[in-house]
Symmetry: C2
DNA sequence: CAATTGATGTAATAACATTACATTTCAATT
DNA sequence: AATTGAAATGTAATGTTATTACATCAATTG
């Protein structure tokens, strides 16, 4: 998956996220793209939906914000469950993948015949630099 | 922690959540408490804040909703990280605790000197009954 | 009983997200 | 090149979730 396959709006949104230090809300993205012609929230949300689908962006459920994937070239969907640490002081987000956690969650779900869709793992706290 | 220590508003909100089949949004709780004198969202949010603090209620970040704790008598905070399955069809929420996952997350955080605050683990999907 | 603290009431506003509908773009096929 | 169908876009309006600000009330305590 490369940037070339993206539409103009999708590319603009991904570009903003990729160059951002930390996660951004949809409305912050909108503001940053006013000069590029964006006028309405839906333009951002639609682009984000696609980028999420492509695995190029992640949504942080606990803070209603979005970040570019840390390794978009490999296709993040291939890495299984994505987990995050989110620094509440500086906003820094670190993405990680842990197969033990993933196996454990999968086995819990399987034991109960729960069909897993999307899984959210987010640790909010204070990063090393801000401690 | 018993219900007796709660204020009127806190007790009313907890009661609504305890008797609900599934998670409720703050505004749904508000509607259910209009007859009890609730008029504004803040009355709900304030009560929820305290109930969350007491470990009597959980917030489901991925669906912006709240559920009563499955074992409030023991004080849910004592159980460490709480994880959930959330059925997107019927709304049923199951709460669980897994020490392996918890240890794994803690060790990840410790390795990076990340000071853990609240951790969110939510699996959305389809429960056995709805499959 | 004054002072402090925590809880409450109310209105207004901010922040986040979706619905609805009209229009345009673009690639695949004719 | 014209047709056409799917995907993307533009725009306005609205719906949903959460917070700020400020006034008041109630319980505790020094």
């Amino acid at each position: 998956m490369t940037t070339q396959t993206l539409t103009r709006n999708q590319g603009l949104v991904l570009d903003v996220l990729s160059h951002s230090e930390g996660p951004l809300s949809a409305y912050t993205i909108l503001d940053k793209l006013r000069d590029s012609g964006f006028r309405a929230p839906l333009q951002v949300y639609r682009a984000l939906d696609k980028l999420l689908e492509f695995g190029l962006v992640h949504r942080l459920e606990s803070i209603n914000a979005f970040v570019a994937c840390a390794h978009p070239d490999e296709g993040c969907h291939a890495h299984g469950i994505t987990a995050f640490t989110i620094c509440e002081t500086c906003g820094k987000v670190t993405e990680f993948h842990d197969h033990v956690i993933e196996d454990r969650l999968k086995s819990f779900a399987k034991d109960r015949n729960f069909k897993t869709g999307k899984t959210t793992i987010e640790i909010r706290g204070t990063c090393a630099g801000c401690a």
